[in-house]
Point group: C2
Chain length 211, copies 2
DNA sequence: CCGGATCTGTAACAAAGGTCACATTTTAAA
DNA sequence: TTTAAAATGTGACCTTTGTTACAGATCCGG
């Protein structure tokens, strides 16, 4: 099962020998939607590769206020964690399963080894850093240059895409946490979007049809 | 001159053989304060290593509005650029000399080679990615969780530190551009800081003494 | 089917930040 | 020295976002 998933998600980018190594040293981990995979200030001993599902990456400030940074999908890895692994530092972020998710956990000892041994691994690591930096820039653009209504639209779009479902099962309060604002503000803006015909509101769920 | 600077800034982290390679293939570049080193959507053919001075990294939105992301100092490199080099993509950011600055420019062909050949180079690259991700998180915290008055204080502190001078030569308008706000807002907040005895305002300059 | 818990809608108000207008000060160039 | 340009100070006002309060809707367990 692990092998099948691994090949599906990674055979394009990893050479056969590396896939074998991953199978040998990696362990499968399954998490249910909503479970926390990595907590802030955890020491990270394993590097997760995403096989199936999706993960939400969050930042928290000193008062415990949250902000969603981005989502990860199949084939992604968390470069923040990567960074922490290599530097042996605590996690700066929280990772929460957005859907039921399957991961391979790679022990960090192997990572150093593979970095010298496999070119495809090095490329993967660099590629991951690159995409994460790009996503971070995108996040910065969003919070620095956009108003809350636009941020909300993007959030709903992302969410629909990640879950491959236009019907989002979520409350206003949860959105407010993710965007670091208040429930009242979100309810207000959602109502505006509904009046503009872009979404349809129901209790515990939002139908996104025309954003 | 290049050799002396290079050794001063990098001999702790690079092995002798790599230093020799850098001397052989790198070229010295000198830029005056205020000059642009990398422009958004430039193709980057050389990787800069900072020998002396400081660089300001900026993001721009579609309307041309700016936002300073962070500053780089001696021994730093721009991981954003690194990322662009390795991925052969356009620059997502602008780099402007904050002071008179000296750089070694490394042709990107060498980078791939050194990555397999020198462990110290690999570590440097990973280390750079790590610190840049950390700075990006810091930037996100700042814009997401802080009000403009706190952001302004941090900006002034950073600026004073980078320039090693509590007397900043800068106008309110310039600060406004860097923080992506308006001149009036900055004047207002600076005046408040002055009234609180934290800074002293003069034309074209701000004395930061107690932030 | 009742009652508490949760979720949503909305009004009223406060605070932060953005905009406009204009006066005053300072500087530098002619 | 005069004058235009640049920089700063400030009042008035608007928009966006945050806060508080409360009412009504919906759900779920007993």
């Amino acid at each position: 099962m692990l092998e099948k998933d691994l090949r599906e998600a990674y055979h394009f980018i990893f050479e056969e020998e590396l896939l074998q190594e991953i199978l040998k040293f990696g362990t499968l981990k399954e998490v249910k939607a909503g479970e926390t995979i990595i907590e802030i200030s955890d020491y990270v001993k394993n590097m997760p590769l995403l096989l199936e599902g999706a993960i939400k990456i969050l930042r928290e400030d000193k008062d415990g206020d949250e902000l969603v940074l981005y989502f990860l999908e199949r084939g992604d890895t968390c470069a923040m964690t990567l960074s922490c692994c290599l530097g042996q530092t605590k996690s700066e972020i929280r990772a929460v399963a957005e859907k039921d998710t399957r991961l391979v956990m790679i022990p960090i000892e192997k990572m150093e080894e593979w970095t010298s041994r496999f070119k495809s691994w090095r490329n993967f690591v660099f590629e991951s850093y690159h995409s994460r930096l790009t996503e971070m820039l995108d996040t910065i653009d969003t919070i620095a240059f956009l108003n809350m209504d636009e941020r909300l639209m993007r959030y709903l779009q992302d969410k629909a895409k990640i879950n491959q479902d236009e019907q989002l099962q979520i409350t206003h309060q949860e959105i407010a946490y993710d965007l670091h604002t208040s429930r009242v503000v979100i309810s207000r803006l959602l109502k505006k979007l509904e009046n503009e015909g872009k979404i349809r509101l129901q209790r515990n769920s939002i139908l996104v049809h025309d954003l």
